[in-house]
């Protein structure tokens, strides 16, 4: 099964780099020609370009929710974001729309997409380091992604 592990985020914006950090750590622990580990700061249509052609995709990212605790880890599927199908992003389309577009245009879409996200504390200060709570969550996320790859 052709699998993609994709870290999302901005590596120089504090906790926004968490997804990329996790992907890099996962990449170091793997040696399987069927699994590609990649990172991107892109969204929407570019995200679609990245995932086309894979059977299984694991996306890792940082999130900020209204009541979340920094460092909290979430495991989600695209269906969890179905409410955001609307035209919403200021520059791009969101994941659900990107997936629907892919299906509509008959592109080779993944059968399974899993999203791991960590609750971020600071995503507006330029820094290559995450805040302590997010930093602590990184090894746990790496473990979860590796388990997901086996399962």
């Amino acid at each position: 099964m052709k699998t993609l592990v994709l870290g999302l985020g901005n590596p120089i914006l504090s906790d926004d780099g968490a997804g990329i950090r996790v992907a890099q750590d996962v990449g170091e622990k793997l040696n399987d020609p069927q699994i590609t580990v990649s990172e991107t700061s892109a969204a929407g249509l570019s995200l679609l370009d990245s995932i086309v052609g894979y059977d299984k995709v694991i996306i890792i990212d940082a999130v900020q929710t209204e009541k979340g605790q920094a460092g909290q880890i979430y495991r989600m599927g695209p269906e969890d974001f179905s409410v955001t199908k609307h035209f919403t992003s200021p520059h791009q389309i969101n994941l659900v729309t990107a997936l629907e577009l892919g299906k509509m245009l008959d592109l080779a879409m993944p059968q399974k997409i899993t999203i791991f996200a960590v609750e971020a504390k600071d995503i507006t200060t330029f820094s290559e380091k995450c805040t302590p709570a997010v930093e602590q969550a990184i090894p746990e996320m790496v473990k979860m992604v590796l388990e997901e790859l086996v399962g």
Binding site: H86, L95, A120
Partner: protein
Amino acid sequence: MKRITIDPITRLEGHGKITIFLNEDGSVANTYLQIPELRGFEKFCEGRPAEDMPQITQRICGVCPEAHHMAATKALDDLFHVEPTSTAKKLRELLYSSFYVTDHTTHFYILAAPDFVMGPDAPPAERNILGVIAKVGLELGGAVINTRKQNHWVIQTIGGRPIHPCFGLPGGVSKAINEEERAKIEEIAKSSVEFAKLSLKVFDDVVLKNKDYLNLILSDTFTQKTYYMGLVDKNNKVNFYDGKVRVVDPEGKEFIKYAPRDYLEHVAEHVEPWTYLKFPYLKKVGWKGFVEGKNSGVYKATPLSRLNAADGMATPLAQKEYEKMYSTLGGKPAHYTLATHWARLIELLYAAERMVELSKDPEITSTDIRNIPTATPDEGVAIVEAPRGTLTHHYITDERGVIKKCNLIVGTTNNHAPLFMSIKKAAEDLIKPGIEITEGLLNHIEMSWRPYDPCMSCATHALPGQLPLEVTIYDAQGNELKKLSQGIS
């Protein structure tokens, strides 16, 4: 006093927020636009080698990394006092033109087209790219995806990496292209020209042939008379990669034309207590508040501004479209904010035509791609046109080339005042006593913002892409009267 907030909350905080305060009678009392600024960039850069800047600055924002890479690379030329080789300049411009094709394509089909193809009052669930493709045809959807994909290949081939290029060096670029690559780029360039022509035809069929839409473009609500800024070549034609900054007044007369190094003589920044982001204005006119006209230093730097600030386009097909646009809009300069979408498509055609020219240039496969700098670095300034406006990078280093100070003026910052004024005007014109505040009305206000495609850095990657819009209306006692929302369950 009632309060309406259009508050896009994404997965990551830090997006713009529009707050509208209403009077007792339901008319608009005041409007505020808040764009949070990212912190600490200058400090982050201090102490790093200047050569890192093309890599670091393109990470500021996931929307136009290529623009930052290009501005930073050119600032390094200036900093190290080295002139790039002719081939290096052409390779840079070829990549940059290809980037413009991808960026303008994305903007038009994802952001602009839903309003016009589906209609500004269509339910938000239909007013998106899926609706556009369902209506205009799967074939066009395939062409959008394919044009982007092919041009990402061009960016990767010339720039060494997709999205975040790594080829810019002081004095040139890090790699040449071979004949096989050149031939493929030429082919992609030609198909991009066809795609741009098709996009202009879609605009013609869907927007211009619809009298209501044309009237909307020409309406007072979306009209704003300011100064216009854009980079021009030696013939005063639009150029994205290099040239002088030209500013025309609201009557279209050249006001100033300056070299990048002189930007601080011409642009100053105004500060307001309610937002961290500054408001640039023309120093020689002065800050007169959020007002239009010749006596106000407010200027715009958008695709339409670039066309207004220039005497024309440097390629034949784009020039024809340029003439057609101004004759339809009743002359130059055009003050119609929504015509920015049209200008963007003309720029798309220009970028594709320029790609064809450069890909056929006999020098483009030369291996003479770099002049090694030998002078001591001190200070460097460069300006390129980012898709969203004039982009300035300015670095000061020590004699080893280590950054001591860095200043950036990005596309959206230029447009901060006009963007705020556009929203304010739309809110005041559309929200009147006795008029029900509907989603369609809210979208009309958003339409005043869309042409600028404001770039708030943190919009790098919208997964899960939750950008709900919320409008809450409070009565004079602060009680919630009504709540409208998009994208919120």
